[in-house]
């Protein structure tokens, strides 16, 4: 590489060629080429076959299970995530630091460990399952169980999205609103809520997208009953075990589109919100 790039921008700092070379080759090797192989294998199938594979009744049911459970889990996490973030930022109480540190447990704990722990807890004779069997509710091997697992793995997203915003907001805004005579609830919904809304939405989107793809923590508790508790990643897994790579790729593509759509929608909503606030 010369001292200057093509567009006349001086590359004063050395290492452009080397670092770009390594970055681009690694990205191609690890991400682009493998991801493209989904399209490669699909290109060998007819559109009708792809459509059939992606819209089989069992598959449609799995989409529904995955989407609904992830959505509910993300909603639950949004509510508790905002409360958790609020308490962590605004209140001082014993164990606050410990709680703060443990928020990321679902990221640090291997999903398989979380999976077997939650399953054991929720089995009819488990610590939690026992409480519910009395009411005739079973958690394990139902969609409730799937949702519980997805709540677990999604906890950190909303908390960690909202927390920095609250920290930056400081109590001044609230104090100003109260000086103007606004009530506490009014202050929260008129002043604080709009501020943390975009961050909460981001956290919601991330939790939702993560929930769709989650495998390890869910499979143990889900029980993998077709049409009932079979989530999409599990379906892909079983297609693979049947060496049905084409179907697996078709379903995978739909999944990827789902995730991108969620992230895109959240992003769009966010920019709408921030525009509305500015203008």
């Amino acid at each position: 590489m010369g001292a200057f790039g093509k567009r006349g921008k001086a590359r004063v700092i050395p290492g452009f060629g080397l670092s770009m070379g390594i970055t681009v080759s690694m990205v191609s090797l690890i991400v682009i080429v493998p991801m493209l192989s989904i399209l490669v294998i699909l290109s060998g199938m007819s559109l009708a076959d792809i459509w059939k594979a992606a819209t089989e009744r069992k598959v449609l049911a799995a989409y529904w299970v995955s989407l609904s459970a992830s959505f509910i889990a993300a909603v639950v996490n949004s509510v508790f995530g905002v409360i958790l973030a609020w308490c962590l930022v605004r209140y001082k109480f014993p164990g606050r630091r410990l709680l703060d540190g443990f928020i990321e447990l679902p990221f640090a704990l291997p999903t398989a460990v979380a999976g077997i722990a939650l399953t054991t807890l929720c089995l009819p004779d488990g610590w939690i399952g026992r409480l519910f069997t009395g009411f005739g509710i079973s958690i394990s091997y139902t969609r409730i169980g799937i949702t519980v697992a997805l709540i677990f793995i999604g906890i950190p997203f909303v908390v960690r999205s909202v927390q920095p915003v609250l920290e930056k907001l400081g109590p001044e805004c609230e104090e100003a609103a109260q000086m103007l005579g606004a009530s506490k609830t009014r202050t929260f919904f008129k002043v604080i809520f709009p501020e943390i809304m975009p961050a909460a939405l981001t956290g919601f989107g991330l939790a939702f997208a993560r929930g769709l793809g989650e495998y390890g923590s869910v499979i143990f508790i889900a029980g993998n009953i077709p049409y009932k508790t079979q989530i999409v990643p599990l379906l892909i897994m079983s297609k693979l075990e049947q060496f049905n790579y084409g179907d697996a790729a078709a379903i995978a593509l739909v999944m990827i589109l789902f995730s991108f759509f969620i992230l895109f929608a959240i992003n769009l909503a966010q920019s709408k919100i921030s525009k509305a606030e500015k203008g």
């Binding site: 001292a3 921008k9 004063v12």
Partner: protein, 354 residues
């Protein structure tokens, strides 16, 4: 003395924005030159191109008669003081100053001696083991300066060297920088948007606007005889008035639509104390501000509002008082030219020009 830096027909665009438009000028060896212009005028781009941090789209840059366009920044042997100093945060003051010498693989003893000498020159004694975060703005500036001149460059470039320093220290630092640079005898180019700074520090100033060089020359010459309407408006405490023919002694000259008036062109006297009544006209001192060594007056004259100054020693004025005004001089602005016009009535009556 010969030209040390020479730019010939430099063009540079960023996206659609023309940052340099046919820029040519030269700076003599040992000169202290100031690139002066409003923000966005392209002055920093020029400096960065000389340093090699940007590359011109066309045109040539010569340093010591050698074309340097294709020489990378690190090989041009230029000292550069960044606007926010860009001190290495994780190195002590001493390590910062020694860095350039280390790169040149100088001996330890040499580096030590040179760093010590530089700390003496820059008045940083006792701060060598501090980190940049622990320094005041003025001290940081001195470290940046010491670091830039440590490898003994023949050419030193400074990007807005005083912008981040508070007003009081700035004055002191300016004088210091000026003296130090002339002692070292190196050529020096600095960028500033502050005309007072440019006028005070530089041997020569280069006025830039919209990517073009408007005028260059010694500060006094640019101040008194601006070559372009922009230079006239930008330098000094200038105000543009359109109906200058309403001022006594300034008949309308065709081709000159407007004029620049500066406070020092205006002479205010109490009514009844006029020295040259034939050139006087009445005005109203609307507001009076105390400016330390003088008074500044919002003057309403012939329906135009201009700024004038008034001596502290003269008989006091009160706000709203009607006063007698003589305008000695105007800079008439043409399309592309500027003419200094003396008050025609004054010239007839009084041969002594004030």
């Amino acid at each position: 003395m010969s030209d040390h830096v020479r730019l010939e027909g430099i063009n540079k665009t960023f996206g659609g924005f023309k940052a340099s438009d046919g820029v040519s000028f030269s700076i003599k060896e040992g000169d202290l030159a100031g690139l002066l212009g409003p923000s966005g005028s392209g002055k920093t781009t020029i400096l960065r191109m000389i340093a090699g941090l940007e590359r011109p789209d066309s045109g040539d840059i010569y340093i010591a008669d050698k074309r340097v366009n294709d020489i990378p920044a690190g090989k041009r042997g230029i000292g550069f003081v960044f606007q926010n100093y860009a001190l290495f945060r994780y190195m002590t003051v001493g390590d910062n100053i020694a860095f350039g010498l280390e790169i040149q693989k100088k001996s330890k003893a040499f580096i030590k001696e040179r760093v010590e000498r530089l700390t003496k020159i820059t008045g940083l004694d006792g701060l060598l083991s501090r980190f940049p975060e622990e320094l005041s703005g003025g001290q940081k500036q001195r470290v940046a300066f010491a670091r830039a001149i440590a490898p003994e460059p023949r050419l030193l470039l400074l990007d807005e060297p005083f912008a981040a320093i508070d007003a009081k220290v700035r004055k002191e630092l300016r004088t210091w920088l000026r003296n130090t640079i002339s002692e070292l005898g190196i050529t020096c180019v600095f960028v500033t948007h502050d005309q007072e700074e440019a006028v005070e520090v530089a041997d020569n100033i280069i006025v830039t606007n919209r990517g073009k060089v408007e005028q260059s020359g010694p500060p006094s010459a640019v101040y008194q005889n601006p070559a372009t309407p922009f230079a006239a408006e930008f330098i000094g405490q200038s105000e543009v008035i359109t109906e200058y023919e309403r001022l006594r002694g300034f008949p309308k000259i065709s081709g000159f639509q407007s004029a620049v008036i500066r406070p020092e062109f205006i002479e205010i006297r109490k009514v009844g104390r006029e020295e040259r009544p034939n050139a006087s006209q009445s005005g109203v001192a609307e507001n009076i501000y105390f400016r330390g060594d003088r008074l500044e007056i919002d003057l309403l004259i012939a329906g135009m509002r201009v700024t004038a100054k008034y001596s502290m020693d003269a008989e006091s004025l009160s706000p709203g008082e009607t006063v007698s005004v003589v305008v000695n001089r105007l800079l008439l602005l043409g399309e592309k030219t500027v003419t200094a016009q003396e008050n025609s009535l004054l010239n007839d009556a009084n041969p002594i020009y004030i």
